[in-house]
Amino acid sequence: MRTVNQHAWWFVLPVLLLVAFNALVPLMTVVNYSVQETFGNNVFFWSGLRWFEDVMTSPRFHAALGRQLLFTGLILLIEVPLGVAIALAMPRSGPWVSVCLVLMALPLLIPWNVVGAMWNIFALPDIGLLGYALNNWLGIPYNYTQNPLAAWFTIVLMDVWHWTSLVVLLAYAGLVSIPDAYYQAAKIDGARPWAVFRYIQLPKMKRVLTIAILLRFMDSFNIYTEVSVLTGGGPGNSTTLLSIDLVKIALGQFDLGRAAAMSLIYFLITLLVSWIFYAVMTKDEPS
């Protein structure tokens, strides 16, 4: 049982100051922009909620949000089951475990724009291994700079390559924490592999899978650098996800009011969906 101690605030003060400095000042800047209109020269006018109405009703925002939801949905549907399957297939002990873990963690530690550049080199239709193999060995016409479907295939494959290991490592951490006695008991009861998975392994992985799904949701929903380097949002607008569109509006067109309003709506959607995931996945747990 934790004891009540109001002096504990002194312990959290450094953290509070550092994070508040980074979070509150920029957040207030964004709020400030989102309710004003400017015609340049640093002259601002109060514009109320006009920017919010503008963003909420703009087809451009709806299109970007739709693409973002499709991308994040695909990522979660592919990476979570694939990651769990690989974790189940991993050896539980032995010399190979370290080797597998190190190799799997490697993509997680590559700077995000290098990931984009690397996939660019890998997928070039004429000289990249992936592009060349698809075009010349398998006979599938593939050019991610011209064909939207090929561009989507490439960004999804890139993200699967980049982040599935995170799910694997988390699920694996959950699996190795299961005592051998559980498996022995299941064996005595004559449980089939599916039953072992459903009633022993899955419940034990629940906590770590909650973390995995939350992290994968947040990071795929906020993805910017990798996709921006690989496709730049193209061809056309076909891979312009929310962050890419936001940066185009804010830094490309310097449309600060609209960008600020969009930022806040974007952040609120992320918070809301994360909270729903969290609430659904932990609802059976005693608090």
Partner: protein, 265 residues
Amino acid sequence: MKLRAIAVTVYILFLMLPIYWLVIMSFKTTNEILSGFSPWPQVWTTASYRTIFTDPTWYSGYINSISYVTINTAISVVAALPAAYAFSRYRFLGDKHLFFWLFTNRMAPAAVFALPFLQLYYAIGLFDTHLGVALAHCLFNIPLAVWILEGFMSGVPKELDETAYVDGYAFPRFFLTIFIPNIKAGIGVAAFFCFMFSWVEMLLSKTLTSVQAKPIAAVMTRTASTSGYELGLLAAAGVLTIIPGAIVIWFVRNYIAKGFALGRV
């Protein structure tokens, strides 16, 4: 059993292919790259690597990246230690809300904050400094470090604290000489994660720097776009950005599984 080994092998091969291609590209001559597809360099050359190691704009990028990543890791872990202790041992007014609020900062899209960050750091004179980037990365690394450390600290029985008080240890001495050695693994894991997310993050570090503190990965894309499309050079720089991460993983390989579960299995 066979099928499982094949599945893991195929997955790891899939992970290695783009890396293999990057490494191969870095040893090809520009002529060979542009002349068409070849699965293996016809002529091996280290020209790209030589360029990087002799040109200050290139290698200073590495020094910049490593500087701000190190500063950030130090600040995040040191600040997070007492906070994580407070969250794991005490109840206080607003503790749950504070914990949740800290974590919401991990959810904020970096693209949302890029422009306000630029203005803020410009205003306080930390634009284009290592300290500036290190402080900005605290936004998402401190919540993560607090979360990981809190998980590890909650695994240490409270009796340890109580015994130390009975034995007459003052809090600072207890914390530094008894408690911290008990959560060494947790500190290692937290430092690893701070290193990782500061090393791979590019949007903020690129926005907040221009010359003096420019990270290597940003040098890479800028150089690639200004001096024509030099794929060999780009690939070599990419390979060099993978190496620090690989070294760090090797050191923490035994803690990785637990660490990725953030001490909460």
